[in-house]
Amino acid sequence: MTRSARWIVFWLGAGGVGALIVLALLKMPSFGGIVHPYRELSVPAAIGRSAPNIVSSVNFDQRALDTLGEETILLGSVVGAAALLRPSKDEREQLDQDEGRVLEATKLLGYLMLPVTLIVGLDVVTHGHLTPGGGFQGGVVLATAVHLLYVAGSYRMLRRVRPKTWYQVAEAVAGGAFVILGLVGLLLTGAFLANIFPRGVLGDLFSSGTVFYLNVAVGAEVTSGVVVLLSGFLAQALSVREVR
């Protein structure tokens, strides 16, 4: 359809949606109110299962099945993007000889921040059930830590340290580990993804049962997924050339 026809359809649609949104939002409970039924149910349940970080407990213990679904979406989109970004049959990978110059200040900051970011990422992943954090957040922090090597060094250096197949295998294994933990729960108690490991004392590192292990599995999967994704984009932008 022509551009002006598209605009007419858009304004009609936006007007309708906007009116419906306003009507619906006027009936919402006012912002900052006291009525939160989900909170009344989930907070005591999380404390009872020895997980101080209630959001992690909801994600990995009370509603772990939803997290399995989200993780599968992540796996699927990473596989799809990696397949789309593969060099096609009339393209070859050729690394540029001239890598450009990196400022000394950038190099210093990058090399200083790389071990710090790695340790912070590992801390965020493993302490996910105690303090704010968890597998998803820590996984992205770890993936950006790996790419600080590209920012501070060169693309060639990044490629040497980051063999793509390891990360692809790690992603698949971590995704499988999540499902296997669920199946173990199914075998032992009859409920998929049941919390079977010892609960421990509130506040210990190895407490709250499966939440710790599921956090580590999701952290590994998100890290590997984001690294594979970025490696596809970096390869396409920097080294894949058409060969006619």
Binding site: S56, G134, F136, Q137, V140, T144, V226, F233, A237
Partner: protein, 78 residues
């Protein structure tokens, strides 16, 4: 409602508008990164540290990087 929260919400609305109204995708990557930081600030003010951690890593680093790499790849074709 505290003035700080009001300002944070209005900044997020303004930031979203600015990102949409920026035409060049290479410039949009920068404004998207700033918008990610504004959203993180709002999430911290709404007492959601887990969500803020997610947003700052993803919205300020990973997505703008991918946008810039896509722009570089597509640059010769437009």
């Amino acid at each position: 409602m505290t003035p700080l929260l009001v300002v944070a919400f209005l900044l997020v609305a303004a930031g979203g508008t600015v990102v949409v109204l920026t035409h060049e995708p290479s410039r949009q990557a920068v404004t998207l990164s700033v918008y990610g930081v504004l959203l993180t600030l709002l999430f911290v003010l709404l007492q959601a540290p887990d969500v803020a951690l997610s947003q700052v890593a993803v919205g300020s680093a990973v997505v703008p990087l991918m946008v810039l790499l896509a722009v570089r790849k597509v640059r010769g074709k437009r």
